[in-house]
Structures are given as C-alpha cells and as structure tokens.
C-alpha cells in the first residue's frame, strides 16, 4: 500500500465531515465556515486530479468570496436557522443558546 494515500483519505473524511456538519448545523455562521472547508478540500482534490485551473478557481471563489458574501448576509439577517418565528426571536436574544 502506498503511504501517500493516507493524507488523501484524511482529506476525504475531513471534507465529507465538513459537508455533513454544514447541513446539520443550526448556527448558520458555523455552517458557512464549514462550507468553506469543503471548498478547500475540493480544491485540493482538483489539484491532485491534475486540474490546477479549476483548483485555483475553487480556492479563490469557494473559500474566500462565497464565504465572505454569506457572512455579510448573515450579519444583515439572523444567525440561527429556524422555522418558528417566535422561537427565533427568543433564541437570538439568548445569543443562540437553546
């Protein structure tokens, strides 16, 4: 077995874990940051799979710009994902703690 496979496996696990966390997290800020981690892992994969052009684009757009635009949007709206409006106001006042 080639030992170079191990960092790639770690990267795969990290990317998938970050993607799952982005879906299940109730705090939108954490979700956005973990989406950035997913993009970072993806750009590594693009580089490993010999697509450096796409890797550059993914690193610049996915990690930096999209994350920042989402963070700005979250600052303009609310931080906690919710369906119930009354519940959300209480949650926001408590600072996101349930």
């Amino acid at each position: 077995m080639n030992w170079l496979v191990i960092p790639i496996i770690v990267l795969v696990i990290l990317t998938i874990a970050a993607a799952i966390y982005a879906v299940i997290s109730k705090n939108l800020l954490y979700a956005v940051v973990s989406t950035g981690v997913v993009s970072l892992g993806l750009s590594m994969f693009f580089f490993i799979l010999q697509a450096p052009d796409v890797a550059l684009t993914e690193a610049a757009i996915g990690v930096a710009l999209t994350t920042i635009i989402f963070i700005i949007t979250i600052r303009n709206t609310t931080e906690i994902e919710c369906c119930d409006e009354k519940k959300s106001k209480i949650d926001v006042k408590k600072g996101g703690e349930k």
Binding site: P52, D53, A55, L56, T57, A60, I61, A64, L65, I68, I69, I72, T73, R75, N76, T77, T78, K89, V92
Partner: protein, 238 residues
C-alpha cells in the same frame, strides 16, 4: 403522508433513470474526438501551452462572452437592489471599532503582494494554470482584505464602472474584429509567436487581461456594495 409518498415516488423514478443512463456510459473511455483535436492543435496552431485557456478563450470564446455577461448582470442587479444614498446618522455594517494594528499592518503588507499574484495569474493565463477569471477574483480578495481591515478604505464606484466598461468593450471589439477580417467570432488574427513565450497565443493574452480587469472591478464593486449598504430595518430586530 400522501405528499411524502409522492415525493419518494418521484425521487425513485428520477433515480432509476439517472442510474439507467449513467450505467450505459463506459467509465474512462474516450467517446469523442474533440479533446484530441484540442490537445493536438492548441500547441501547434495557436502556440498556447495551456490548452484549457485555448479552449475557454478561443475555441469556446463565445461561451466565455456569455459568462462574462452573466457576471456583469449579476453585479449590476445586486448594485441596483442594494445601492442607495446614506441617510443621516446611518452607519455602515463594518465593525464600529477599527481592527487591530496587527491586522492593519499585515493587510498593508499583503495587499500589493496579492495584487501582484492576481496580475501574474491573468497575464500568464496562456502559459500557466489560471486565467482572467481567477486573477480577477484574487485581486478582488485583496481589496476585500483592505475593506475589512480599514474603515476608511473607499472604493470609487465610477472608476470601477469605467474599468469594467472599457474591459468589456475591448473583449467584444477583439471578437468582432475577427468577424470583420472574414473569420469567426474571437478567431485569432494576431501573429501567434513562439510556444512558451509571454508574447504568444495571439489575442488570448489581451483577452485575458481584459477579463481579469473586468472580473476584478465587478467583484470589488459587488463586495463594496454588500458591505456598505445594509438594510437598517433588518438590524433593528436584533
């Protein structure tokens, strides 16, 4: 219950057909010849060592024009929704306190280096990985760094729209010149030079510089619009 059942039914049908189609495509087999054509012709005819660039700007240049237009429309639409004059006593969304001295000096040092990297990426688009779009985004990231670390860093929107318009006009004019000379849109009409030289590839280098300027200006304006024009009614609820 019924609704959920239908959702699963539709998902199952869609999934069945996707699997049915994908399973008939042999994995890793070359089914079209156009890739070989590009790999063969782009170093010998166009003298471009980065085949991706040759495809994006020359063979599929018309698509690139469409993409640039989409980005332009997105930036314009966002600006038209978000941009408005500030009323009295209104503050922007950036932090009330100035950021720390370490961040300020660090971003001062990093700003020209990131701009240089972006310029390198789009000037060398036909030689190394990258191109106009990537370089432009890198430059926009540099201005984002300054925007979040300095409260007084201002972006001049009229300058930005001038840069954007001139770069877009250069792109379209280069494309139309190909048509006027009796070739196709964005066909190369300049001497191609030698492979792996900076001045090679004909019009590809010029187009990538134009695209780089355009993307950098658009995204900088977009971030600046988003950062400085918040909606006060959304903040009141907090």
């Amino acid at each position: 219950m019924m609704k959920r059942f239908f959702i699963f039914l539709i998902l199952a049908i869609v999934g069945y057909y996707i699997v049915d189609v994908v399973s008939q495509i042999p994995f890793g087999e070359n089914r079209v010849n156009v890739g070989d054509y590009y790999l063969d012709k782009s170093p010998s005819e166009l003298k471009v060592s980065n085949t991706v660039t040759a495809i994006v700007v020359n063979y599929r240049g018309f698509d690139t024009l469409g993409e640039v237009t989409v980005l332009f429309l997105a930036a314009t639409g966002l600006a038209s929704i978000m941009f408005r004059r500030k009323r009295k006593g209104e503050k922007d969304i950036r932090a009330k306190k100035a950021s720390s001295r370490i961040i300020q000096i660090g971003s001062q040092i990093l700003f020209p280096i990131i701009i240089l990297l972006g310029a390198y990426v789009f000037i060398h688009g036909h030689l190394s990985p990258g191109g106009g779009f990537q370089g432009g985004v890198i430059i926009a990231t540099a201005s984002l760094l300054m925007l979040i670390s300095y409260r007084k860093f201002k972006v001049n929107h009229s300058t930005i729209s001038w840069i954007e318009s001139i770069a877009g006009i250069v792109f379209v004019l280069l494309g139309v010149t190909g048509l006027i000379l009796g070739k196709t849109f964005l066909e190369n009409f300049l001497p191609t030079g030698e492979l792996n030289n900076l001045l090679s590839g004909g019009i590809i280098g010029i187009i990538y510089v134009a695209v780089g300027f355009k993307v950098a200006a658009e995204l900088t304006g977009l971030i600046d619009t988003l950062l400085l024009n918040n909606r006060p009614e959304a903040n009141k609820e907090k």
